[in-house]
C-alpha cells in the first residue's frame, strides 16, 4: 500500500497546490515542499528499514489490484532495489527542484507546482509499475506536465523546444505501445492468458523474428529518452529552454527512465534478440560518448553544453547495459544516480548564474571565483565529477561500466575510455570560462546565499559518499541486477531453443485458444487472493 501512497500523495499534493494558489501565492510552494518531503521520507524509511525480499526474489514490496480485468489490466506496483534507488533519486531531486524554483518561478506559481508534482508522480509510477499498460500510462503522465513546464516557464525559445520534446517522445512512445500490444497478443495466443502483467509476460516465448521486432519497439522509446545519438536532438533544446527545475528533472530523472526501461524490460523480455543487437547498441553508445563530448566542447550556451555532456554520459549507460554482466550493470545503476546528481548540480549552478546575470552565454562570464568562491568550489566539485575524478561517485560508475564492457568488447571499450579524455577537455573549459580569468562584470557577482547552500551542500556530500563508500547503494541494487541478468547466465541458449520449437506451433494454439476467452479473469482472481 505504501507504493500507492507515494504516487497518490504527489498527485493529490499537486492538485492541492493548484487550488491553494487562489488563497495565497506562496502556499503552493509549501504544499509542494511538504508532499515531496513526505514521499522522500517514506522512501528513505523503506530503504533504511531494509525490508526482506518477498517471494524469495528481488522484490521487496508488491501491490496488486485489478483495474480493467476484462483486458487483463491491473494496477500492479512492485518495488525492488533498483526502483528503490531510483525513487530515492527522484524524490531527492524533486525536493531540490521545489527549492530552486522558490525564487525563480514567479508566474502561475500554483500551476507550476501542479505540473512539477505530476511529473514526479509519473516518474515514480514508471519506476514502480509492473503492468505494461499502466507503464505506458505513466510514461505519458510524465510527458505532458513536462511539456507544460518547458512550454510555459521556459526561456526565449520554449514553444519550439517543448513541441520538439513532445514529438520525439510521443512518436517513440507510440512504437513502444505497439510493441506492448504485440507482446500482449502473442502471449495471449500462446497461453490463453491475456494480460499486461510484467511477471506473466516474462514467460512469453517468442520466435526470433517477433522478438526482434518487439525489442525495437521498446528500444525506440527508451533510446530516444536516454537519448542515444542520432535520436538525441530533442535534448539540447529541451534542456536549455526548460526552467532550472525542468532541466534538473529532465537530466536527472527523465533520461533515467530510458535507462530503467532498458534494464527492466528490454533485457529480461528479449534475451536472445538483445544479444544479437548488443554490438550495435554498444557501438551507438560509444558514438554517443564521443559525439556528445565533442559537441559539448564548442557550445557557448551553458545549459546546452551541460545537455550535450548528458548525451555523452548516457552513452556509458547503453554501453554497460549491453555488456550483460554484473560489473557493467552495477556501473549503469551507479551512473544513473551519480549522473542525476552531478548534471543536476551543474544545471542548478547554471540556474544560479542565470538568476544573477540573465544570460546563459559563457562568453559573457568569467572570473567569478574572485567574488563567488563558494559557487566556484561547488562547480569545481561537479565539473570534476563529470570528468570522472576518483573519489566522486561518477568514477565508480564509469570505471565499473568500463570494466564490465571490457569483458564484452575490447575495442569499443578503448574508444569509450578515450571519451574520458574528451570529458576532461570540455569540463575544464566550463571552469575556465565561468570562474577563472579576469572578472568581466562591472559589479561583483553575489556568492551563494543560505538557501542556495542548503541545496548545494547535500549534493556535494552525496557525491563524495558515493565515491568513497558506494556499497550501500550497490547492495541495494544487487539482487535486482542479478534478476535482470538471469536470462544471460547460462539459461539463454535454452530459451532460444524453446522459442524455435514453439515458433511453428503458435498458430495451432491460436485456433484452440480462440474458444477459451475468459481465461484472463481467472488469473486476476488469483492475484486478488494473493
Amino acid at each position: 500500500m505504501i507504493l500507492v501512497w507515494l504516487i497518490a500523495i504527489l498527485m493529490a499534493g499537486g492538485v492541492l497546490a493548484w487550488i491553494s494558489g487562489k488563497v495565497n501565492r506562496s502556499l503552493p510552494r509549501w504544499i509542494a515542499l511538504g508532499s515531496v518531503l513526505a514521499v522522500f521520507g517514506l522512501t528513505l524509511y523503506l530503504w533504511l528499514s531494509n525490508p526482506a525480499p518477498v517471494l524469495g526474489s528481488a522484490w521487496l514490496v508488491q501491490y496488486n489490484m485489478p483495474w480493467i480485468p476484462q483486458w487483463g489490466i491491473s494496477f500492479s506496483l512492485a518495488l525492488d532495489g533498483l526502483s528503490l534507488l531510483l525513487l530515492l533519486l527522484t524524490f531527492f531531486l524533486g525536493l531540490l527542484s521545489v527549492l530552486i524554483s522558490w525564487r525563480e518561478i514567479q508566474t502561475k506559481v500554483a500551476f507550476f507546482h501542479l505540473n512539477l508534482l505530476w511529473v514526479l508522480a509519473g516518474i515514480a509510477g514508471v519506476f514502480l509499475t509492473m503492468d505494461l499498460f499502466l507503464f505506458y500510462f505513466f510514461w505519458e503522465v510524465m510527458l505532458i506536465p513536462m511539456y507544460f513546464l518547458i512550454g510555459i516557464w521556459g526561456h526565449e525559445n520554449r514553444r519550439y523546444a517543448a513541441a520538439k520534446f513532445f514529438l520525439f517522445t510521443q512518436a517513440s512512445g507510440l512504437l513502444m505501445l505497439l510493441a506492448i500490444l504485440g507482446l500482449y497478443f502473442i502471449h495471449g495466443n500462446q497461453t490463453g492468458l491475456y494480460t499486461f502483467s510484467y511477471f506473466e509476460l516474462l514467460n512469453t516465448t517468442l520466435a526470433p523474428e517477433a522478438a526482434r521486432l518487439l525489442m525495437f519497439g521498446f528500444l525506440a522509446a527508451f533510446l530516444v529518452k536516454l537519448p542515444i545519438v542520432p535520436f538525441h536532438s530533442w535534448l539540447p533544446d529541451a534542456h536549455s529552454q526548460a526552467p532550472t527545475a525542468g532541466s534538473v528533472i529532465l537530466a536527472g530523472l527523465l533520461l533515467k527512465t530510458g535507462a530503467y526501461g532498458l534494464l527492466r524490460f528490454v533485457l529480461p523480455l528479449f534475451p536472445t534478440a538483445t544479444v544479437e543487437f548488443a554490438p550495435w547498441a554498444m557501438l551507438l553508445g560509444v558514438i554517443g560518448i564521443l559525439y556528445g563530448a565533442m559537441l559539448a566542447f564548442s557550445q557557448t550556451d551553458l545549459k546546452r553544453l551541460v545537455a550535450y555532456t548528458s548525451v555523452s554520459h548516457m552513452g556509458f549507460v547503453i554501453l554497460g547495459v549491453f555488456a550483460f554482466n554484473e560489473w557493467a550493470l552495477q556501473g549503469v545503476v551507479m551512473q544513473m544516480i551519480t549522473h542525476g546528481l552531478s548534471t543536476g548540480a551543474l544545471f542548478i549552478i547554471a540556474g544560479f548564474l542565470y538568476e544573477r546575470l540573465h544570460t546563459r552565454d559563457i562568453r559573457q562570464m568569467g572570473g567569478f571565483w574572485s567574488t563567488a568562491p563558494k559557487m566556484g568550489f561547488i562547480c569545481l566539485v561537479f565539473v570534476m565529477a563529470s570528468l570522472g575524478l576518483p573519489g566522486l561517485g561518477n568514477f565508480i560508475a564509469e570505471f565499473l561500466t568500463l570494466v564490465g564492457s571490457w569483458q564484452a568488447n575490447n575495442w569499443l571499450t578503448v574508444f569509450a575510455t578515450i571519451g574520458i579524455v574528451l570529458a576532461t577537455i570540455y569540463s575544464l573549459r566550463i571552469m575556465q570560462k565561468i570562474f577563472l580569468e579576469e572578472h568581466k562584470l562591472k559589479q561583483a557577482l553575489p556568492d551563494l546565499n543560505a538557501r542556495e547552500m542548503l541545496i548545494a551542500i547535500p549534493m556535494v556530500v552525496l557525491i563524495l559518499w558515493l565515491g568513497f563508500y558506494p556499497q550501500p547503494f550497490l547492495d541495494t541494487a544487487q539482487p535486482s541486477i542479478r534478476e535482470q541478468l538471469q536470462a544471460y547466465t547460462g539459461s539463454a541458449p535454452e530459451r532460444e531453443q524453446v522459442a524455435e520449437v514453439a515458433g511453428p506451433e503458435t498458430k495451432t494454439i491460436e485456433v484452440v485458444l480462440g474458444e477459451k476467452k475468459p481465461s484472463p479473469n481467472i488469473h486476476i482472481s488469483k492475484t486478488l487472493n494473493q
Binding site: S233, L295, E326, G367, P390, G391, I420, L436, E437, Q471
Partner: protein, 628 residues
C-alpha cells in the same frame, strides 16, 4: 606501530579539508599552522614508522580502513601497503613536502589566496601519499588522478592570467591521455586476475605468464603509457615545461616530491609485469634515453631559469627510466630520491632568486647574485653540483654513476644506452653551470629586493646537506661497497644481474664520467663567464640560431601536437557546433511545412478552381482506366 599508517595520508587530507571549510575565516598564522603542521606531523610519523621498519624489518605492513566496494568479486579496499619501496617514497614526499611547505609560508606571504594555496598543497601531498601507499591499483589510480587534479589547481593558481589556465588544463589533459592507457591496462589486469590487488597480481603474474607473454607485454606498455604521461617523458612531456606557470613552491613539489616521480613508482611497483616483457623493458629504457637527450638539448637554450630546471627534470626522470628499463630497479629509485633532494633545492633557490628580483625569471636579466644572496648561492651550487654529477662530493654523482655503470654491466643494458646516458651527463653539466654562471656571476643587472629570511633559508640548508651527503649511503664496489639503500630495497626490488668480469673496469668508467662532468662545467665556464664572445659568434651563425630556436621550442612538439590534434579537434567541434544531426530533423519539419503550404494553397475557396480540378481529375482517371 602499523596502526599509525593511515594518518600519513589522512593528515594532509584533513588539513586540506579544514582549509577549504574555514580558510577564509581564520588568521594567516592558523592557516600556516594547519597547512605546514599537517604535513609536518605526517613526516614525523613517517620517521617513527621508518625507524620501526628499519629495526624490525618486516616484509610489509598492511592496514585496511574499509572495503571500497564489492561487485561480483571486484572488491578493492581503501587499504595501505607499506614496504621498503613505498617507505622511500613516503619519506621523500613528506620530508621534502614539509620543507617546501615551510618555504611557502614566506614565499606566498603576500598572496591574497593564502589559504587556498595551502589547501591545494596539502591535497597534493595527500594524493601523492595515497598513490604510493595504495595496496591496490584502483586506490593507486585515485591518488594518481588526485595528483592530476592538484597539479591543475596549482599550476593555474594565479587564475586571472589566461595563460596560466591554459598551462593548467594542458597538464591535466595530457596526463589524462596517459591515464586512459593506464585505465585500459587496469581493465586487462582485472580480466586476467580478477583483482587489482598489487601483491596478488605480482605473485600470480610470475606463475601464470612466462617471459615474453604477449598479454603481459600489452599490459606493461599500457601502464608505461600512464607512467609516461605523469612523468613527463616522451611523447607526453610537453605539459611539464609549461607547468612552471604556477608559484615556484608548486614547481618544487611537482618536480621533486610528487607527480613526475609517480611514473617511476608505478613501473618499479609493477616490475614483475615489466620483467615478463623484454619489449616493454626496452621501451622503458629507450624512452628514457631519448627523453634525457631531447630534454637536455632543450634545457641548453632556455632563458627562463624555471624552464631550464623543468627540462632538467624531464631529463633526470629520463635517467630513472633508463635505469628501470635495464632492470636496475633500486638504482632508479635511488636516483629518484637524490633527485628529489637536489631538484627541490634548485627550485626553491630559484624561487628565492625570483622573489628577490621582483618576479623576474629571465636569466639574461640576472647576474652577480653570489654576493647579494650568499646562502642561496652556496646551496644552489651544491644542488647544481649534484645535478651535474660533480665527482666524489655530490650525491648526484653516486646515483647517476650507478645508472651509467649498469647500462654496461647490467644484463639488459647495451653500449648505446650507455653512450646516450654519458652524452646526457655532458649536456647536463653544461646547462647546469650555464645557469650558475648566468645568475650568480658577472655584473648585477636587477636590483635585489626581498632578502630571504629563515623560512626560506632553513629548508635550503637542509636540502643542501641532503644533496651533498645523500649519496654516501650507496657507494660503488671500489669505494668501499656501501649498499645500505639497495639492501633496504632488496626484499621488494630484485637486484640487477651483472655481467661477469666487468667490475675491474668500473674505475675507468667512473673516471670517464668524472671527466665528462668536469669538461661540461669547463665549457659552461668558458662560454658564459670567461669568453662570452664565443656565444656572440654562435649567435651570428645561421645554423646555430635555427637549432637554437628548434631546441628552445622543445623540439617543436607543441607545434606538432597543435597541428595534429588540437586544431583539428577544435575545428571539427566548432564546425559541428549546430549539430548536423539536428538539421536532418529540421529538414523533415521543413518538408512537412512545405507540403502543408502546397496543399493549403489549393484550398482557394473559388468554385471554378474546384470544378476545374474535378474535371482534370476525372479525365485523368478515365484515361488511365482506358489505357489499362
Amino acid at each position: 606501530m602499523g596502526e599509525l599508517l593511515w594518518l600519513i595520508p589522512a593528515l594532509p587530507f584533513a588539513g586540506a579539508l579544514l582549509l577549504v571549510l574555514f580558510g577564509k575565516r581564520i588568521s594567516r598564522m592558523l592557516v600556516s599552522a594547519i597547512g605546514v603542521g599537517s604535513v609536518g606531523i605526517a613526516a614525523a610519523i613517517t620517521l617513527v614508522l621508518g625507524i620501526e621498519f628499519l629495526s624490525s624489518r618486516p616484509d610489509f605492513i598492511r592496514q585496511e580502513l574499509w572495503q571500497w566496494f564489492d561487485v561480483a568479486g571486484f572488491s578493492p579496499s581503501i587499504a595501505f601497503h607499506l614496504d621498503a619501496l613505498s617507505m622511500v617514497f613516503i619519506f621523500v614526499i613528506t620530508f621534502v613536502g614539509f620543507l617546501i611547505h615551510i618555504y611557502s609560508t614566506e614565499y606566498m606571504a603576500e598572496d591574497t589566496d593564502y589559504a587556498r594555496f595551502f589547501a591545494c598543497m596539502n591535497l597534493f601531498v595527500g594524493s601523492m601519499l595515497m598513490l604510493v601507499m595504495a595496496d591496490n591499483l584502483l586506490l593507486l589510480y585515485l591518488g594518481w588522478e588526485g595528483v592530476g587534479l592538484c597539479s591543475y589547481l596549482l599550476i593555474g593558481f594565479w587564475y586571472k592570467e589566461p595563460a596560466n589556465g591554459y598551462a593548467a588544463r594542458k597538464a591535466f589533459i595530457i596526463t589524462r591521455v596517459g591515464d586512459t592507457a593506464m585505465a585500459i591496462g587496469l581493465f586487462m589486469l582485472f580480466q586476467h586476475f580478477g583483482t587489482l590487488h598489487i601483491q596478488t597480481i605480482s605473485t600470480e603474474a610470475a606463475q601464470v605468464w612466462s617471459v615474453g607473454n604477449e598479454t603481459a607485454m600489452i599490459i606493461a606498455l599500457l601502464l608505461l603509457g600512464g607512467a609516461v604521461g605523469k612523468s613527463g617523458q616522451l611523447p607526453l612531456q610537453t605539459w611539464l615545461p609549461d607547468a612552471m606557470a604556477g608559484p615556484t613552491p608548486v614547481s618544487a613539489l611537482i618536480h621533486a616530491a610528487t607527480m613526475v616521480t609517480a611514473g617511476v613508482y608505478l613501473i618499479a611497483r609493477m616490475h614483475v609485469i615489466f620483467e615478463l616483457s623484454p619489449v616493454a623493458m626496452t621501451a622503458v629504457a629507450a624512452i628514457g634515453a631519448a627523453t634525457l637527450l631531447i630534454a637536455g638539448f632543450a634545457a641548453l637554450t632556455q632563458h627562463d631559469i624555471k624552464r631550464v630546471l623543468a627540462y632538467s627534470t624531464i631529463s633526470q626522470v629520463g635517467y630513472m627510466f633508463l635505469a628501470l628499463g635495464v632492470g636496475a630497479w633500486s638504482a632508479g629509485v635511488f636516483h629518484f630520491m637524490i633527485h628529489g633532494f637536489f631538484k627541490a633545492l634548485l627550485f626553491l633557490c630559484a624561487g628565492a632568486i625570483i622573489l628577490a628580483l621582483h618576479h623576474e625569471q629571465d636569466m639574461r636579466k640576472m647576474g652577480g647574485l653570489s654576493k647579494k644572496l650568499p646562502v642561496v648561492f652556496y646551496t644552489f651550487l651544491i644542488g647544481a653540483a649534484s645535478l651535474a654529477a660533480f665527482p666524489l662530493v655530490s650525491a648526484g654523482f653516486y646515483s647517476k654513476d650507478q645508472i651509467l655503470w649498469l647500462q654496461l654491466a647490467g644484463e639488459k643494458g647495451n653500449i648505446w644506452l650507455y653512450l646516450a646516458g654519458l652524452l646526457g651527463a655532458f649536456i647536463t653539466s653544461i646547462y647546469t653551470f650555464r645557469m650558475v654562471f648566468l645568475t650568480f656571476f658577472g655584473e648585477e643587472k636587477t636590483h635585489v629586493g626581498h632578502k630571504p629570511t629563515l623560512a626560506i633559508l632553513v629548508p635550503l640548508i637542509i636540502l643542501g646537506v641532503l644533496s651533498f651527503a645523500g649519496g654516501f649511503i650507496e657507494l660503488p664496489h671500489n669505494f668501499g661497497h656501501v649498499v645500505l639503500f639497495s639492501d633496504f630495497l632488496s626484499p621488494v626490488l630484485p637486484a640487477v644481474n651483472v655481467v661477469e668480469g666487468l667490475s675491474q673496469y668500473e674505475w675507468m668508467l667512473q673516471l670517464l664520467a668524472a671527466v665528462v662532468s668536469l669538461s661540461g662545467i669547463f665549457i659552461a665556464y668558458l662560454f658564459y663567464y670567461k669568453k662570452p664572445a664565443l656565444i656572440e659568434s654562435l649567435h651570428r651563425s645561421e645554423i646555430a640560431m635555427a637549432l637554437h630556436r628548434f631546441w628552445h621550442s622543445g623540439w617543436g612538439f607543441d607545434q606538432l601536437y597543435d597541428t595534429l590534434f588540437v586544431r583539428p579537434y577544435v575545428y571539427l567541434s566548432k564546425l559541428n557546433k549546430g549539430d548536423f544531426i539536428d538539421s536532418i530533423y529540421t529538414f523533415i519539419a521543413h518538408i512537412t511545412q512545405g507540403a502543408h503550404r502546397l496543399f493549403s494553397s489549393t484550398q482557394t475557396g473559388v468554385m471554378r478552381n474546384y470544378v476545374a480540378g474535378i474535371v482534370v481529375g476525372a479525365i485523368m482517371i478515365i484515361t488511365i482506366s482506358l489505357l489499362l
